[in-house]
Symmetry: C2
Subunit: 289 residues, 2 copies
């Protein structure tokens, strides 16, 4: 495995995540090549990469490391497509938001190649190269899931690259990752989508709710503006864990509704107090890190 | 009714809303007096008012306008307590977050006094005088609900005061207000509380979710840190409208869950696309205002 500074990187997908990564790795690697089938994306992303091209095969032939920065099912298709053409010793990484299916696909890559699955815990509701941000990865937790194609050297390279963009590598199994993100990322997205739908229904005959909506609605509904292709891939490849998280949420809502229906102030305050303290403790733990 | 610049104001409740209002009205009214039963609050708020006192009756005797900036059920108790002691022509305003019960109580005030119910659509998850903010009211919609004690002069005074703090007065009936805020404010709070509870349950045996929680969780759970006394009052005085909003939300979640359970990508994308477009349109309409 080459050192980070000697490695020629190809980043497949020049959206928010790929372009931000290229921007942040500039000068810390030998070269960056951006690959995207979308000419508009390629043009917008050109300034962040040493080179851009729509031709995957050509870029891959000249690269030591391939980073797949695309929606999950596009990553799965790319792994199929790359499998026969990867040079011996090439390292494949990815930035997909669910890890089980991707790790399974990486496990099946030819034994001549290396692969580590990854998920940086950062993002924005805006997408595309126009949203690229040099600080996007700074300070975030970057999950790494080992595969049957992960050697110690491959993991070391991935960790070094993560540290080079200011993020914190955290190694874990794919199933554990997927269950955790179902609760802290995919569930909030679904609540956000459901909230927007409920307000839309409330405002069907009287637009007043849209006029009164302020900071609370803004923050709670922010995720509903996320890219739909990305989110549909996430939900459909993490179905069981997301349904589990929804069940836990339902139990919370049932308890809240019962306390409210019976005007049981003590029960209501108990739930509200518990959530408040938990949220405050979490925020405090983040500040202390 | 005196002009704003000639009016002696008493603000009952020196928390976030009352202290921010005093701070913003300074120099635009004759005087501001802060009343609070909590000595710690009074001390922290002293810098924002011309005078502070724990004695409600004494402050009220010297004031032209009384502004009730307390949790809803405290406002209802204050209206009972003020009813026999208000001087003829005194104007009572309030900043309570639900309006039906408060308007009903104001309707019963003696005919010698004036009263207009109000709700500024602003706030923070932090509370107390320490969180006071001169810009809190700037640009926000400030709902006014007329009562049987509202004269044109009383409404005009309230509108003038609202404009003086940079907010936009919007007149409407209490029921219409309460239904709208159930959807855009009380529902997001309950979702936020339920989300925190669901993540807590997920993290019972493995703390990983708390470690991975990032921007999406942060924003969607922010409201769960709100003051519990304030929120319990809001929920219990707006029970029916909140339960209606929860029913509309449930219908959204059922549709999402069905699409997910059956891996019906088309149905799933339909819901996600609709919410995304609605959220983007709302954000755009805010920018254009």
């Amino acid at each position: 495995m080459k050192a980070l500074g000697e490695a020629a990187l190809t980043i497949v997908g020049t959206g928010l995540m790929g372009s931000s990564l290229a921007l942040t790795l500039r000068g810390k690697v030998k070269s960056t090549c951006g690959v995207d089938p979308d000419p508009g994306h390629l043009e917008a992303a050109a300034a962040y990469f040493d080179a851009v091209t729509p031709h995957l095969e050509q870029a891959v032939a000249q690269s030591d490391v391939i980073i797949l920065a695309a929606p999950i099912r596009a990553i799965l298709q790319l792994l199929n497509r790359l499998s026969p053409i990867l040079k011996p010793g090439t390292l494949v990484l990815d930035l997909g938001s669910t890890k089980r299916d991707i790790v399974q696909a990486m496990d099946k890559l030819p034994t001549r190649v290396l692969a580590v699955a990854g998920h940086p815990m950062c993002g924005k509701e805006r997408s595309g190269p126009e949203a690229a941000d040099k600080a996007l990865y700074n300070g975030c937790v970057f999950v790494l899931c080992p595969t049957q194609r992960s050697t110690p050297e491959a993991l070391e390279f991935a960790e070094g690259m993560i540290r080079a963009v200011g993020a914190h590598p955290l190694m874990m199994g794919a199933e554990r990752h997927d269950a955790a993100v179902a609760a802290i990322s995919h569930l909030p997205y679904l609540l956000s989508v459901g909230l927007v739908g409920a307000v839309k229904d409330t405002a069907e005959d009287d637009k007043l709710p849209w006029k009164l909506a302020a900071g609370g609605f803004r923050d709670t509904s922010r995720l509903a503006a996320s890219d739909v292709t990305m989110m549909a891939d996430i939900l459909l490849t993490n179905r069981e864990a997301v349904l589990d998280a929804l069940r836990l949420f339902d139990a919370q809502l049932i308890a809240l509704r019962e306390a409210l229906q019976s005007s049981d102030e003590q029960a209501l305050r108990g739930i509200l107090d518990g959530a408040r303290q938990t949220r405050i403790d979490w925020a405090r733990s983040r500040t202390e890190e």
